[in-house]
């Protein structure tokens, strides 16, 4: 499959990456592992004039402790993050979501930042240009109606395995962009709009993922068809820390949801009530809704019974 024409530039610093983005007048895409972006380009879902490779920016890689936070460099490959003892010991929800992401080979190339900043997906969107033209362009492609429901709201699925885990852990993000630096809770990354699910400004670069320090208990459950690979069709993460317990669900709709847990039964009911699957995956919406309850209960029981 042939890529559309694009220039390639390698940035050595965040400043250089921003300058390059400015040089291409915003019609460039930042490249990390490329496991989401390159297939999108091959399907002509993304046609940047240039790719700005961030992999030469060493400071965006690795895990370090600073003050009350553990700081994860977004360019850290998923596989390397999974191999960090601290992640396994202190953030089991994230450890399990990393393990469940795609396959090992893609974990070695794909990065945690890229996984968080992936585009949303839909059965009617992640297709060849030929296929999409034949069907008529949907909302996410600039068309006037949704090809899954006929409606006017895009509910493509944001299918990051690690986003629910990071939400349950209370993660924050730090970015640098043309407007300067900002730090915000992960929840605020999401617009809720499937056409453009991530609320980053053009040229804004994720530079850190921050986790509150301290040991947690947690887990992640994933619904998929093939155990070996596959994006999640539903992902449920749960974290308990000092009596505070949080459940987060992803891959259904453009925005993951997160809710505090008092009583697990009640929380699982609420989780299932809050997800609104539509017929835009290979599984039926009622099944996904039921599984939201099943997987929520499963992960909470597993974690809480482990003691």
């Amino acid at each position: 499959m042939i890529l559309p024409q694009a220039e390639y530039r390698k940035a050595r610093s965040v400043e250089e990456a921003l300058a390059l983005f400015h040089h291409y007048e915003g019609r460039a895409a930042f490249l990390a592992g490329g496991t989401d972006l390159i297939p999108r380009m091959k399907l002509r879902l993304a046609k940047p004039l240039a790719l700005i490779d961030l992999k030469g920016i060493e400071e965006l890689r690795g895990v370090r402790e600073e003050g009350d936070w553990v700081r994860i460099g977004p360019l850290t490959p998923l596989y390397d993050l999974r191999a960090e003892e601290r992640i396994r010991e202190e953030y089991p929800a994230l450890f399990e979501s990393l393990e469940a992401t795609s396959c090992e080979t893609l974990q070695m190339r794909g990065t945690i930042g890229g996984n968080l900043l992936q585009e949303s997906r839909c059965l009617f969107y992640n297709q060849s240009e030929f296929w999409r033209k034949a069907k008529g362009f949907c909302l996410k492609m600039g068309g006037e109606r949704c090809n899954a429901t006929g409606g006017t709201r895009c509910l493509s699925n944001y299918a990051s395995d690690n986003a629910p885990a990071l939400l349950s852990l209370g993660a924050r993000l730090k970015t640098v962009g043309p407007q300067g630096e900002r730090e915000f809770p992960l929840e605020e990354l999401y617009t809720g709009r499937g056409e453009r699910p991530l609320g980053l400004a053009p040229g804004e670069i994720l530079v850190e993922i921050l986790l509150p320090r301290g040991r947690t208990k947690g887990g992640y459950e994933k619904l998929r068809v093939r155990g070996a690979i596959d994006y999640p069709l539903l992902g449920v993460a749960f974290t308990a820390r000092n009596g505070e317990r949080r459940l987060a669900l992803g891959a259904v709709g453009p925005k993951p949801i997160s809710l505090p847990v008092q009583d697990p039964e009640e929380a699982a009911e609420r989780a299932s009530a809050e997800v609104s699957p539509i017929p835009n995956t290979i599984l039926s919406p009622p099944y996904i809704k039921r599984m939201a309850k099943v997987l929520s209960l499963r992960v909470m029981r597993r974690v809480l019974e482990e003691g």
Binding site: M1, E7, G34, T35, L43, K55, C103, E104, T105
Partner: protein, 157 residues
């Protein structure tokens, strides 16, 4: 579009080429360097038949741009044998009948090599986990797993 020069090592040899910036590593290996061991299956990173080693780690060469490998080391299945002697994994794949149509074979062997290089004593479950990055539509995987186990035992011996 202007071409860019890229320098890297393939199977131990220095290579210097002018490439289109959006050419993939897979295209360069197959069409420029005549190293056709890596195959294009899905072209989207799902199947693993284009797997090569980049600095010792398996990658989908269909998702890697040629300019990204500047200064790096690439190994393809052609680079595994020493002189006329096949690599233990290649020998084991032949002896165990782990090759049917052969399309996935180079990717399977390289994924298995990367595993054995970093974890010399993987058990069966670990082998299955590692090669589950690669799809085979013929064998049902049994003989592939047996071949990797045989190569593991051979390199110990």
């Amino acid at each position: 579009m202007e071409k860019v020069r890229v320098n890297f090592r393939v199977n131990g040899e220095e290579v210097s080429l002018e490439v289109k910036p959006y050419e993939t590593l897979l295209e360069v290996l197959r069409d420029r360097l005549d190293l056709t061991g890596a195959k294009e299956g899905c072209g989207l990173g799902a199947c693993g038949s284009c797997t090569v080693l980049l600095d010792g780690r398996p990658v989908r060469s269909c998702l890697v741009l040629a300019p990204e490998v500047e200064g790096h080391e690439v190994v393809t299945v052609e680079g595994l044998k020493e002189g006329e002697r096949l690599h233990p994994l290649q020998k084991a794949f032949i002896e165990k009948g782990a090759v049917q149509c052969g399309f996935c074979t180079s990717g399977m062997i390289l994924t298995a090599k990367a595993l054995l290089d970093r974890e010399p004593r993987p058990d069966r479950q670990r082998i299955i986990r590692a090669i589950s990055s690669n799809i085979c539509r013929c064998t049902g995987y049994k003989k592939i797993v047996e071949a990797v186990e045989a190569a593991r035992d051979l390199q110990e011996g």
